[in-house]
C-alpha cells in the first residue's frame, strides 16, 4: 500500500519513541496492513490514504456526523478516533454498503424519496440510518424513549432523535425521514 504523507511536518515526540505505528484492519472486507503516523484519524486514513472519499469530512470535531462509519458493527464519528487505535477492527464505509449497480435498500430509499440535495451529508446519513434501525431493534433507549423497561417503538420521533448527530446544511431531513421509515416498514420492525 502506497503511503501518502500527512500534510503536517512530523517532529518526533519528546520521548524519542516512534511517531508511527503499524496497524492492520479490515476495511469493507479487505485486509489492510499499514504503518501510519500516530496522528492520522480513521477519517483521514479512509480519505487520504485509501482514497475512499465517500466518507465526508465536515467539521472534523464530532459535531456534524458527515464522517460516520461502522466499526465492529457500531456507528462512530471517524474524525474523533485515531487509525492506530483500530488494530484488528472491521470498518464499513458507504463504499462497503452498496454500489451504484447494487444499491443497499437504504440507499435505494434515499433515492426514491429524494433524501438528499447536494449529497454531502448523505453517506454519513445512510450509515447512521442503517445503524439507527439496528439500535432500535436491539432495544437501545434514546432521549425520547418513554418506558425504559420496554423496547423502544419505531416512531418518527425516535428516528428524528437518533439521527440528530447528523447535520444537513441543505435541510433534506423530511425526505430522509420518509426513506428511513419506509425501510423500517419493509424490514417489518414494530411501530
Amino acid at each position: 500500500m502506497e503511503r501518502v504523507p500527512t500534510p503536517q511536518t512530523a517532529s518526533p515526540p519528546a520521548t524519542g519513541a516512534a511517531a508511527t505505528s503499524p496497524v492492520r484492519l479490515t476495511i469493507n472486507g479487505m485486509d489492510q496492513a499499514l504503518t501510519l503516523d500516530n496522528r492520522v484519524s480513521l477519517l483521514d486514513l479512509l480519505r487520504e490514504h485509501l482514497h475512499l472519499t465517500g466518507t465526508k469530512k465536515g467539521c472534523d470535531h464530532g459535531q456534524c456526523g458527515a464522517c460516520t462509519v461502522i466499526v465492529n458493527g457500531r456507528r462512530i464519528n471517524s474524525c474523533l478516533t485515531l487509525a492506530v487505535m483500530h488494530d484488528g477492527d472491521e470498518v464499513t464505509t458507504i463504499e462497503g454498503i452498496g454500489t451504484p449497480d447494487h444499491l443497499d435498500p437504504m440507499q435505494a430509499a434515499f433515492v426514491a424519496h429524494d433524501g438528499y440535495q447536494c449529497g454531502y451529508c448523505t453517506p454519513g446519513q445512510i450509515c447512521s440510518a442503517r445503524a439507527v434501525l439496528e439500535e432500535i431493534a436491539a432495544g437501545i433507549p434514546s432521549h425520547v424513549t418513554g418506558d425504559l423497561n420496554a423496547p423502544p417503538p419505531l416512531s418518527a420521533e425516535e428516528i428524528r432523535e437518533r439521527m440528530s448527530g447528523n447535520l444537513c446544511r441543505c435541510g433534506a431531513y423530511a425526505n430522509m425521514l420518509e426513506a428511513i421509515l419506509e425501510v423500517a416498514d419493509t424490514q417489518g420492525l414494530p411501530a
Binding site: 511517531a19 505505528s21 496522528r39 464530532g62 464519528n77 474523533l80 487505535m85 433507549p141 425504559l148
Partner: protein
C-alpha cells in the same frame, strides 16, 4: 496536532506505571474529547497510552447489591444495561440526553467524567484563558464577553466555566464512587462528589486525581428506588450541552435528592437543599444556589433551574 508516541497498555497497573514513567503522557479511551482538543493544540501530550482492551469494559454486580461499572464501558452500553434502566433510570436518562448516538458508542464512563469544559473561550486558542494558559486572564469575564452558557455558582474571579457532563450529574445524585489505581500500584476510592474541584485561583486543576492515576471503575450503591428523572434544558431539542439540567430522585413521601448540571464548575448538590425538597422548588433553590454570582448574561439560569425543578417535582407527584 503535535506529534506523539502511542502504545497500548496491557493491564490497568501497567497503564498507570507507564504514565508515571513518561513525561506529558495521557490516557486515551474513546478519544472523543482528547482528540478534539489535540486538534486545536489545547492538549498536546507527547505520549498516548491507549487503555482500550485491558478488561475495564464490564458491568458487574457488587456484593452489596450495587453495580460496578468498568471505566471503559461505553455510554451506549451503560445506558442500555437492563439493570441500569430498571434500578438507576436517572443514569440512563442523563446518558441519552448527552451527545449523539455516534459519540455515545465511543464515549466511556471515565472519559465522560473527565471531559473538559466547553467554554467557547477555552476552545479558542487566540483568546486568554486561565484554564488553558494559567495566568493569561479569563475572556469570559472581560467587558462585553458572552457568558450565557457559563456557571453561576462555585466560580471564582479566575474562571466561570461549567463542567459539561450530563452523566456526572446523575452519578452525583446516585452517590457513585470512583475507583482508581496509582502508578505505585496502590488503589483508592473517591466519591464522585469529591472528584471535581472548584477553580479558585488554579482553574487548570480540575480534579483530585494525582499524576498518572487511572480510573478503573465507578461503583453505584444498591438501588434506592423513588421516581428518577433527568430534565435537560438546552437551546436545541437534541445534541446540545445543557443550559441547566436537573437530576432528581424523589421518594413517595416527598423527600429525595437533587443535583444540577450546567450551573457550576462541577455537578452541583447540597445536603441542606435535599432536606428542603418537601418544601418545594423555591426553598430548594434558596439553599442550592445560595451565594450564586451570575453574570448579566446568565442570571436567567437561576430562575430556569427553579422552574425546571418545579416541573420535575410536579411530574414526580403524578
Amino acid at each position: 496536532m503535535k506529534a506523539f508516541s502511542y502504545e497500548r497498555a496491557s493491564s490497568p497497573a501497567d497503564a498507570a506505571a507507564r504514565a508515571a514513567q513518561i513525561a506529558n503522557a495521557r490516557y486515551i479511551a474513546g478519544g472523543t474529547n482528547l482528540l478534539d482538543l489535540m486538534k486545536l493544540q489545547i492538549e498536546a501530550p507527547s505520549h498516548l497510552i491507549d487503555v482500550n482492551g485491558i478488561g475495564l469494559d464490564r458491568i458487574e454486580e457488587t456484593a452489596e447489591g450495587g453495580l460496578r461499572i468498568g471505566a471503559l464501558v461505553r455510554n451506549t452500553d451503560l445506558a442500555a444495561d437492563p439493570r441500569v434502566r430498571r434500578d438507576y433510570p436517572v443514569l440512563t436518562r442523563a446518558l441519552v440526553a448527552g451527545a449523539s448516538g455516534q459519540l455515545r458508542n465511543k464515549a466511556t464512563t471515565a472519559g465522560n467524567l473527565l471531559q473538559r469544559t466547553r467554554c467557547v473561550y477555552f476552545y479558542d486558542p487566540n483568546m486568554p484563558c486561565n484554564k488553558r494558559v494559567p495566568g493569561s486572564g479569563c475572556s469570559a469575564l472581560a467587558e462585553g464577553a458572552v457568558s450565557r452558557q457559563l456557571a453561576v455558582i462555585g466560580t471564582s474571579d479566575a474562571c466561570i466555566a461549567t463542567h459539561p457532563s450530563d452523566m456526572a450529574v446523575a452519578m452525583l445524585v446516585l452517590d457513585a464512587v470512583v475507583e482508581t489505581v496509582l502508578p505505585s500500584g496502590e488503589t483508592r476510592v473517591i466519591p464522585v462528589a469529591d472528584l471535581h474541584v472548584l477553580p479558585g485561583d488554579t482553574p487548570h486543576i480540575e480534579t483530585t486525581l494525582r499524576p498518572g492515576e487511572l480510573v478503573t471503575a465507578v461503583t453505584l450503591p444498591p438501588p434506592i428506588g423513588g421516581k428518577q428523572s433527568y430534565r435537560k434544558v438546552r437551546d436545541r431539542a437534541s445534541y446540545a450541552f445543557a443550559l441547566v439540567s436537573v437530576a432528581a430522585i424523589i421518594q413517595p413521601d416527598g423527600s429525595g435528592r437533587i443535583a444540577l448540571g450546567g450551573v457550576a464548575p462541577k455537578p452541583w448538590r447540597r445536603d441542606d437543599a435535599d432536606a428542603a425538597l418537601p418544601k418545594g422548588a423555591t426553598a430548594v433553590m434558596e439553599r442550592l444556589l445560595a451565594g450564586a454570582r451570575p453574570t448579566e448574561d446568565n442570571a436567567f439560569k437561576l430562575l430556569l433551574a427553579e422552574r425546571a425543578l418545579a416541573a420535575t417535582l410536579a411530574e414526580a407527584k403524578e
